[in-house]
Amino acid sequence: MTATLLDPLESDVEGIAELASESIVILDPAGIIRYWNPAAERLFGWPALAVCGTDGAQLSPAPGDEANAWSQLLQEGAWEGRVRRRTRDGDVRVARVRRHLRYDGAGTLRDVVEYARAEPEAPGWAGAHDRVPDRSMAASWEIDVAPAADILARLAPRAPGADTSERDELLHGLVNAARIVEVNDRTARLVGGNRGRALMAGQSVAAFWPLESRTILANLILEARADREGRSVQRRLASDGILRDPLVTVWRAGDDRPDRLFVAVDGAADDDRSYLYLRASEARYRKLIHYMPVALWQVDASHMGKIYAQLRSRGVTDFAGHLDDHPELVEFAAASVPVTDVNRCAIELVGGASVQDLIRPVGYLFAESPDSLRRVMIGRFSGRKNYSEYMKIRALDGRLLDVRFSVTYPEPLLELDTTIFSLEDVTERLRIETELRQLQADFSHAARISTLGELTSSIAHEVNQPLAAIMTNAETSLRWLARDEPDIGKVAQLTTRIATSARRADDIVRRIRSMAVKQAPEPVPIALNDLVQESLLFVRHEIETRGIRVTTSYARRVPKIVGDRIQLQQVIVNLLINAAQAVEASCEADREIHIATRAGLKGEALFTLRDRGPGIDPDHLGHIFDGFFTTKPQGMGIGLAICRSIVAAHGGGVSASNHPEGGAEFRVRLPPARQAS
């Protein structure tokens, strides 16, 4: 008979349960006892035969308590607490009990498993427990009122109700000053947000205790302290949105620790959603956050939100200006906004040993770039949903990291005021980008030197012209001065010419030098038309001596571009030299290059260059921008490759085609400079 009452799905567990020293009882969803092991017989004084098939609640001397515990169990999925059961002899046995719900494969409730041990101490258990007892799976607290010694001293002599408002103030002060020593998981879950138990320790009780019932708690503390025998005192509270009709019990920890008290709050969670569902969803969420491959910081900037609201109500609209006048507000935020949680990736990013290393006011994240915090604050003040920027942070092990910092601000209408920071380590990426930029700069520098090499004779000619004029003019001056009657007027004229030629030589040398020196690209706003004219200066002589005509058409409204002037000149110079070489062998009428600038349809700046040379072999069209592709016997084949790389680095493109009327056409497309906001 007993066997049929056993859990049919776990019949081979039967033997194990039979031998267990802990009482094991299985009840069906209706509360009917279905299994009762030998340990249960010993503990509760009933043989299995007598109780299997009966309502378990009928064993309780207080059926109301049992009904409460049962409904809490069904709602929360587990229950832990004290159970009293009448024995066959009429005694009452007290046991510490854990009850768990079990579900079958289809997810419907199958049964309740109850484990129980004899309660080691009598009810009231004011003994010196080291841990906060998990009484009735209540939300329990251990608190320390030592910091409230002054307030307690002032409250002690007063009869309740002597001066209500002053007393109320003192009672609030008491809860405020009382510190949390420890709380259990349930308390942390119910009122701790997601700070976790460890983070609640040391904080003010008032930070977590509902405002409406703080005076009640304070009075209970006073009463519990006043009770000489250390008995517990209880009060039922109104539902507070956290628990339904919670019962608060307070008792002294023990005579050896006079300032410590235990607080237990019993009650079902006042929430329509099932506890199990919530718990599972929270666990999933936390796990997800914890293992997310992005470093996440959760911060509680709720008090800053209140400050911002106050500032707005005082008419502050220019928050940036306000922060200029009150830089201390940024420092205040750095020192007072706590980090409440971080994930694993965050710990790895800053090189911490544990969560605790990172749970500090947010200031440490902004030590290297205080202005970033200022911008983060401005972002929230101005009602943005998120904000992101690149900044530097100092890791805990001293490394300086480049990170992309993003913040997601709390939604104003949602109850939870949590701000999320995410940090992405971009140190390596920036390093590679810098290296690539350096390589590209080296490459284009090498190409420039090579171009200058091709232009050597032109350059020599160009520099020597003014030098020749200077030397001859100077020597002529000396001859005038050496005459019996020096012609000062003539000398003055010659000296003026010397100065003019010297300036000209200087201009040329300066231009050549800018092409020849190696320097990091420096983006500046550039007018495309100016750029083309400057580039023409380099090759003017080259083009003139080859008898090539250059016709130009500059559009008036060409968008400004941003880039490195020297590199972009290099592109145009290269294309011009290319074109000059292409038309060199043509008859005089065809020795022509046409260049034009205009605005593209998408707002970009366009430069086109068309020659009347033989054009590009269609087989080569796809390769002419490849490195080391050349059709010239002396060519290195890097000219056009470097053009493409420079233009690409500026976010643009270069293309080549054959014009339907003959000759090659090159187009350079460069994005417009972004309007400064």
Binding site: S457, A460, H461, V463, N464, Q465, P466, L467, A468, A469, I470, M471, T472, N473, E475, T476, R479, W480, K490, L494, R497, T500, S501, R504, H541, E544, T545, G547
Partner: protein, 129 residues
């Protein structure tokens, strides 16, 4: 009466032309400047020159073309090249086709005037013969 020798200067650079013109003037030589070979050839049809100083790299007709043209015309006009071209092949070619001297810019007045004196003297002696 011995006429004042007239030197023609062909250079596309105005500053160079002006400087050379003034130097020759203070040295007691008459001179006329041209910004290109074509202008000089046109002037030569109506005027006599005793010497030509020319650049090599110029738009239009180059200095080499000009020397070849004069050689083909058997003009007998002494030519001095004053250029910044450093190419040895061009230099040898210019000298081979009849240039009297190849001077590199920038040039000292002594060098230029010395070369001019020699060129004019030789042309004078050749015309007497």
């Amino acid at each position: 009466m011995s006429h004042m020798p007239t030197v023609a200067i062909v250079d596309d650079d105005e500053a160079v032309r002006e400087a050379l013109g003034d130097l020759l003037m203070v040295s007691g030589l008459a001179c006329e400047c041209f910004e290109g070979a074509a202008e000089f050839l046109a002037a030569r049809r109506v005027r006599q020159f005793d010497c030509l100083v020319t650049d090599i790299r110029m738009p239009g007709m180059s200095g080499i073309d000009l020397i070849e043209r004069l050689r083909d015309e058997r003009a007998g006009l002494p030519v001095i090249v004053l250029s910044s071209v450093l190419d040895e092949a061009t230099r040898s070619h210019a000298l081979a086709i009849g240039a009297r001297a190849w001077l590199t810019k920038p040039v000292t007045d002594e060098h230029l005037l010395g070369a001019l004196a020699q060129a004019i003297a030789s042309s004078g002696s050749s015309s007497k013969r």
